[in-house]
Symmetry: C2
Subunit: 157 residues, 2 copies
């Protein structure tokens, strides 16, 4: 199964695509990148770019499921609204391709990958490297976070 993981944000949305095999521990990194949009552009233009880029990647890599990092539970309303808008644009892309979407909170991601909900960023990145059997931490950080949430879905199934 091909999974597209997303770390949502209006300025930077991390994307990590992995492949998993049923009844196998093997997880393969296929692609990772970060969609960036400029604060100089209109919000609608930026959200459309996020939707469009993700839609193209779902199609290109034939993603069959999407894993999205959800909000930190105690976020304030302003940032909840901003991240919500990015998640909305991302979900439209998933809806267009009729693929299921699974959300994981930051706490769940840390717990699934490291066994510890309050793990440090470095511990999480080490876990991503270990699961994907790669030497270097994927860059930029948002793309590594997107791979992390994709791995969560792979381990969940």
């Amino acid at each position: 199964m091909i999974i597209i993981g997303i770390d949502p944000g209006t300025a930077e949305t991390g994307i990590g695509i992995i492949e998993t095999e049923k009844n196998s521990q093997k997880i393969l990194r296929i692609h990772h990148e970060c969609v960036k949009t400029s604060s100089k552009d209109e919000k609608a233009f930026r959200l459309h770019k996020i939707y469009n880029d993700i839609s193209c990647l779902i199609k290109k890599y034939k993603a069959e499921a999407m894993a999205v990092e959800s909000l930190f539970f105690n976020t304030n309303a302003k940032s909840a609204s901003a991240v919500g808008q990015a998640i909305g644009a991302i979900m439209v892309a998933a809806g267009a391709h009729k693929i299921p979407v699974y959300q994981f909170s930051p706490l769940q991601i840390k717990k699934i990958l490291t066994g510890y909900g309050r793990a440090e960023k470095k511990q999480l990145q080490s876990a991503v490297k270990k699961h994907l059997k790669i030497v270097d931490i994927p860059k930029p950080t948002h793309a590594a976070d997107a791979l992390a949430v994709a791995i969560c879905l792979a381990l969940k199934d």
Copy 2:
């Protein structure tokens, strides 16, 4: 100018389309409706429907600008995130058609339409009737609210 007004929500998104003439007080109601989605369906499917229906209406009525009711300033993070997702899907539709988006808060809408930021729902609905020179309050309520925000943009220009 054709303006599409939106009262965003995942379950019900109100839509109101009006036409205004430059240097004229005349505002004409063109169309109003409510896009409904079922809570039984996947969130991504629902957001894609909102995006798709609005995109079709922008195209059908050749809307040149969008007015969206923004969040109430003291909303909690959970509802800010949910409404944010609907606004995100709506903005993708505006971005796809390259039309500008203007946001008005509930307080601004009341102030512009009735002159009073704490106006009651009935006063707002009367103002909508007056501005559009129509006899009955448009139904459902979300569609009337969408016409209200569209009128705000018309009066602003």
